[in-house]
Amino acid sequence: MKRKNGMLEIVKTREFALGVFTLGVFFILYSTTNFGSVVGLQSYAKDVAYILVASIGMTLLFITGNTDLSMGTTLGLAGYFAAYFAKGGSHWYVFIPVAIAVGVVFSGINGVIVVLFKVPAMVASLALMTVHMGLFTLLPLGGWVENVPRHFTTVGYALVVGVPLVFVIAVALFLATLVFMKFTRFAKKLYAVGGNYNAAILAGISPAGTILYAYLISGVLIGVASILLNTTKQMVQANSSYGMEMVFITATVVGGASVNGGRGGLVGTAIGSFFYALLTRAMIFYGFQDYYSYAFQGVIILLAVLATEIDFGRVGRRLRTAFGG
């Protein structure tokens, strides 16, 4: 049955519609501006790379019914520490683990507050975001690293047959997490906890442990994303990624993850990341001011969330009862 209508089912999904729309915008941009130049495409791929990796972390949290507003500032801290260590002469096998460790620690603190003290995730992470902003002012070198050494930016500027290495890493990581989500029991637990908290407890799942692990995994992904973002730059500034969490939230909710938890998928999020990065490119190429991106972000989040949350079946039933049908 399912196999028979397989093609039709795919066409009806949200991912398909979003993908087609993204491709449409892509080709319009490609043909009307010089977005299609090699440099343009490469910098687009670099944008997608870190958005994709961090959004995967955000999606995992969304699936469990949680979120992390401090993701932007955590990413800034992770990137700063990586650059700081690199400037001190550390090799890649030191500064990359440092970034990941910083991500894990700060995301872990968030997770502990959410899980242990049952504080709503958004409020907890909002508070932590401010704590991070305060930490920025206490960092050595004033919170920014200038003239980062060559071996730090090697990762960001390297090309694999014309494709930026950071994009290859991001896609590889995406495929790995896709397999992980498909085949492990842990992934099912994430959906169980987000879908029905109490039912998950009754099914013998520890929601606390599951959510905490989701935060830790998200921390690892933030660490990697901070490397993918900051190695493409000449100067690393801790507070420059403040506000970036909205980007990841946009990519996630556009991809169909439910803000109430229990629903969402990595494929949707990946398309959402491509979509978001493309949209910011489009706004630059068509000469919109930076201000528009905030307004667009808000509208897109609202529309995406509305599309996910409105139960069309229920609306239909209501209409039918209203008209006596």
Binding site: K118, A127, V259
Partner: protein, 328 residues
């Protein structure tokens, strides 16, 4: 369960005594640190005026959080209202019209939040996070790189004039509104509905209360208070620009939570919010006097918020169990 609630309410009354004690201790500590500047007659009241915008919004936010909701968009609602006021005055030179547009903007922003929250199942956190982004964009779009600072000469009367020469008028306004809010919240049926919604929305709905309308009203109220705060701000510092809304959200939520209102709703105290606003005023003034303003103050706010969230969740452990957001 009901015993737990009674216990929690009693602990809140003790908590307000604790807040009052904190306020007095802080006053003496900063008085010592600043060589007696804080306790001077003209300073002890004047330090309230830097937190009055936050205070006005926090009053409405207390009610919003009491229903189990939250409004993250208040900061930029305030900024947008202020910018609209500046824009309209620049165009028409009519301050009454400008103030009316300012209030209308705030109410419209609140109405959009309220409409989405009342009519759909989207959590208030996500709705207002999205509208936060939207209002940020709109206010930056309207203002561009302009700073609207053209206002009538009498605009800054809140700095030049004070009641009996010492008490800021916005503090009087704050106290009057605080009494109104406290009476409405503690003594009327409407206030009981708000609290009831925080504890169990379904029960209130099944009691025949139109909770959609209440939600809508409460977010419009939050928007309106944000625009009143915008006017108060402009009377103090007549320069409307987008980034005046930057720290308002955090400061407001910290004030409300520090005041003893449970972040998951149900338990709320207007007087607790008033006390915590006064404490934040002393803290901000005192810290800036000893050279720890700006980011350091925000850092301390963040830590206060985290500590309060953890502390209250331990205190309310009994009540909050199994009532997590997203679980129901």
């Amino acid at each position: 369960m009901s015993n737990d609630i009674v216990k929690a309410v009693k602990s809140r009354i003790n908590y307000q005594a604790f807040l009052l004690l904190t306020l007095i201790v802080l006053l003496f500590v900063f008085n010592r640190l600043t060589d007696g500047v804080i306790m001077k007659w003209n300073v002890i009241f004047r330090q309230t005026e830097i937190v009055m915008e936050v205070g006005l919004i926090a009053l409405a936010m207390t009610l919003v959080i009491a229903t189990g909701g939250i409004d993250l968009s208040v900061g930029y609602t305030m900024a947008l209202s202020a910018i609209m006021m500046g824009l309209i005055y620049e165009k028409t030179e009519n301050i009454v019209l400008a103030a009316a547009v300012c209030l209308l903007t705030g109410m419209l922003c609140g109405a959009l939040n309220g409409l989405i929250i009342a009519k759909t199942d989207i959590p208030p956190l996500v709705t207002t996070l999205a509208t936060f982004s939207l209002y940020t964009g709109i206010s930056k779009l309207v203002a561009g790189s302009n700073i609207f600072s053209k206002f009538p000469d009498g605009m800054t009367f809140l700095i030049t004039h004070r009641l009996f020469g010492v008490i800021p008028y916005q503090f009087v306004l704050f106290l009057v509104l605080a009494v109104t809010f406290a009476l409405a919240f503690n003594r009327t049926r409407y206030g009981r509905y708000l609290r009831g919604m925080g504890f169990n929305e379904q029960t209130v709905r099944f009691s025949g209360v139109n909770i959609g309308l209440i939600k809508f009203n409460i977010y419009v109220l939050a928007g309106l208070m944000s625009s009143i705060a915008a006017i108060v701000y402009l009377c103090r510092l007549p320069a409307a620009k987008p980034d005046i809304g930057i720290n308002i959200n955090l400061e407001t939520i910290t004030a409300v939570v520090f005041g003893g209102t449970s972040i998951i709703g149900g338990i709320a105290s207007v007087w607790g919010t008033v006390l915590s606003i006064l404490i934040l005023g002393v803290l901000r003034k005192g810290l800036s006097l000893i050279g720890l303003g700006g980011d350091k103050y925000n850092f301390i706010l963040g830590i206060i918020l985290v500590v309060c969230l953890i502390g209250f969740s331990i205190l309310n452990g009994q009540i909050s169990l199994g009532r997590r957001k997203g679980a129901d």
